[in-house]
Symmetry: C2
Subunit: 260 residues, 2 copies
């Protein structure tokens, strides 16, 4: 049993406003809670409902959490229902501290692809792209103001935990960020259905920033102007555009093509 006030607070973390106020977010389910244990993030408390967490894997997770000194708190099914965002809860929800990353550290590490989002809206798309970014070992993520929040529950679930391993910078002024990266000799590539550089013929150097735009509006013109190239995926068939997560996957795979 937990207090009414505590339950209200935990349930409020499903809202962006409360996550930003308290600097905490919720991570739910066995796989995601396992994943965040071995990531950049610190789990503050693990809430579990014994009745819904009876698998061996669930028992093992609680055991590991305790061994690591993370407070665990048993809750009942009614309480779980208030806190959970999923229809079929697996009986475990972690409260995780948001964290800040250090840009200079990102820039010191060996050159990798970085990824920026200009007002991306759809949590499913952002999550799928972060899953891809984790896969292709992207070095850092920049989200502009007015983008969906990276620790939004839907983003976290669609990313399959991929975002836990990515340094993420939120509320960025992309123009400033891009200017900094240009100073560090990053090439700036904007994904654009009407771009002038066929992605298969782009000359990717060692340091690249890929900028992805809003699903409808694309990338703002001020940012387009800062680009070294506008990447297009040529269309031999039908359609006005690709899904942004699919386009991001094709471009990230290409930028990673020379690597093992």
């Amino acid at each position: 049993m937990i207090s009414k006030a505590k339950l209200k607070y935990l349930s409020s973390l499903k809202q962006r406003k409360s996550r930003q106020e308290h600097n905490r977010f919720l991570v739910e389910g066995l796989r995601l809670c396992e994943e965040i244990l071995d990531s950049y993030y610190e789990i503050e408390t693990a809430l579990f409902c014994a009745a819904q967490l009876q698998s061996e894997r669930g028992q093992q997770l609680i055991e590991t959490l305790r061994q690591r000194g993370i407070p665990t708190l048993e809750i009942n099914q009614t309480e779980l229902k208030r806190i959970s965002e999923t229809v079929h809860s697996q009986g475990i929800v972690c409260v995780v501290k948001k964290r800040e990353f250090d840009l200079s550290e990102i820039l010191r590490t060996p050159p990798r692809v970085l990824l920026a989002f200009d007002e991306i809206n759809d949590p499913g798309n952002l999550g799928a792209i972060l899953r891809t970014a984790g896969w292709f070992n992207v070095g850092g993520i920049f989200l502009s103001k007015n983008s969906v929040e990276a620790v939004n529950g839907k983003v976290v679930r669609a990313s399959m935990g991929g975002l836990f391993h990515l340094p993420i910078f939120e509320n960025c002024t992309l123009e400033e960020m891009i200017a900094k990266l240009k100073n560090e000799n990053y090439a700036i590539w904007v994904a654009d259905a009407n771009g002038d550089v066929d992605y298969r013929r782009a000359n990717f150097g060692e340091k690249n920033l890929l900028v992805l735009g809003n699903e409808i509006e694309g990338v703002h013109s001020e940012i387009m102007k800062m680009a070294d190239g506008l990447l297009k995926i040529p269309n031999p068939g039908k359609g006005e555009s690709l899904n942004v997560a699919v386009a991001a996957g094709i471009l990230l795979a290409e930028m990673n093509r020379g690597n093992k």
Copy 2:
């Protein structure tokens, strides 16, 4: 005004069972209704709500439908609400006839990539893949039994109409289909996170079938055994797998790499 019985019938087309019984499906919104006008499909009736279809583009669409001899039927907002699946309806819904495609015709056309799905479940994923398949000019789509229906409203919307330009075969027994394609000298490629062929080094000939599996289970082992190669996208970073729509995009882009 339309009769209660007609309204009930139209609203029922939101359900798979009714779509299969009546061999009809619904297509909603300006862009999708425009798209289906220039596709393989025949629109039976266009339902529109004048109060919600006031844009010039909307007027133009109604005009074009009438010029083509397609019956248009005005409905009110209450009726639209019963029929529409979207929160912000654009005031137009078309009733479209399902259709059958001829496999021998597909096999006679110049060799292209074909795409098969082994029990894909998520309509958003299937829709995004069909959007990609339209873009890359895929020659035909095979959906196994127990896959989500291609003309499910969510699939149609996520495909952005891409599926209207694709010959689609539903309820396929994939083993039989694959045997036929092998006879026609198609190479059979299965996407598999644990595959043995790096997709960047696969030797794609002229005729290829790409098989994609269920989001959780992957492709059935009987089908794996029929493959000429199991394609993997190597993972230099983190994660157990890519989103299936992202993986499909990367593989279809690669299979299309040599083309203009």
